[in-house]
């Protein structure tokens, strides 16, 4: 069996480069090697996919908010502030 070309990168190196890859800051030469590695290494392709899914999931977390009493307090402060107009 021919030895697959892993782009001169080990999988252990790939998982540390994955954020730079997704962020688009890998130098062109390294990016080429990374793409080469992924084209022959299914587990690393799965890993990259999982990182992307992780980011997508983080973006779907429900909104938080402050309570109505806290909002009311702020509005009260605003009205005080706007009355002391210089």
């Amino acid at each position: 069996m021919a030895t697959p070309d892993l782009g001169g990168l080990t999988c252990k190196e790939v998982v540390e480069l994955v954020t730079d890859y997704v962020e688009g800051v890998l130098p062109a030469e390294m990016r080429k090697r990374f793409d080469q590695h992924l084209s022959v290494c299914d587990p690393c392709a799965i890993y990259l996919d999982q990182m992307r899914q992780t980011v997508a999931t983080l973006g779907k977390l429900p909104e938080d908010s402050i309570s109505q009493p806290a909002l009311d307090t702020l509005l009260h402060h605003f009205r005080g502030w706007s009355r002391e107009r210089p």
């Binding site: 730079d20 290494c41 999931t57 983080l58 973006g59 402050i66 806290a70 509005l75």
Partner: protein, 214 residues
């Protein structure tokens, strides 16, 4: 009450005129995001709400002098971060220590535990020994359940402070890295390293969750 456009510049100009509608619009637009970041710094919701309130009071105090060199959003979140840090120090939470711990540990911690890779004497050194498995073809249905959301939230809460701050702004709020660097006053490189560590840990938490279920 005057009618106010929706653009940030118009809202800021109206707020300088002490227009209540502009204040309410800005408050509604940002209070949720501010609360989420405040919760990263504070142990309780009560404290986080106080920090958010403090932040808006800071806005009212400073808006006259706000010249729009930075965006309003960046300025607003800088106020929040400053107030949250001051409060943490006052309450004896040694935030500087925990940030240092975060940085130190960041240097050595791998994205994936070393024992999941083959050893150096293997014919395929440092390639996968225990590879990751696909999370399925329609991950959105499994990833977006309340159970998974809860798990992700707990995973974030367990990260060191600086990692929590970065992942909250970048991935939860979807900010560009430049804005995150400006608000947290960190370099692009530092931001990226913190983001990498944080994302790697959240991914690992999701993986553990899915492996356990299957």
């Amino acid at each position: 009450m005057s009618s106010v456009g929706d653009s940030e510049a118009e809202l800021v100009a109206a707020l300088k005129r002490r227009d209540e509608m502009a204040f309410v619009t800005l408050l509604q637009r940002y209070q949720g995001q501010l609360m989420r970041l405040a919760l990263v710094y504070c142990r309780t919701r009560e404290l986080a709400e106080e920090v958010v309130q403090d932040t808006w009071l800071g806005v009212l105090q400073g808006i006259e002098r706000f010249e729009g060199r930075a965006s309003f959003k960046t300025w607003l979140f800088q106020i929040l971060v400053n107030r949250a840090r001051t409060r943490a120090v006052r309450e004896g939470r040694t935030l500087s220590f925990s940030s240092l711990a975060g940085e130190a540990e960041m240097e050595s911690e791998p994205a994936v535990p070393a024992d999941r890779f083959r050893t150096l004497d293997d014919p395929w050194p440092h390639n996968w020994a225990v590879p990751p498995h696909s999370w399925g073809d329609s991950p959105e249905t499994t990833l977006l359940t309340a159970e998974t959301m809860d798990l992700v939230q707990r995973a974030i809460a367990q990260l060191p402070g600086p990692q929590q701050q970065v992942i909250t702004l970048r991935d939860v709020e979807g900010w560009p890295s430049e804005d995150v660097c400006n608000v947290l006053e960190i370099s692009e490189t530092n931001q990226r390293v913190l983001l990498h560590r944080a994302r790697s840990r959240v991914r690992a938490a999701l993986e553990a969750h899915f492996e356990e279920r299957n």
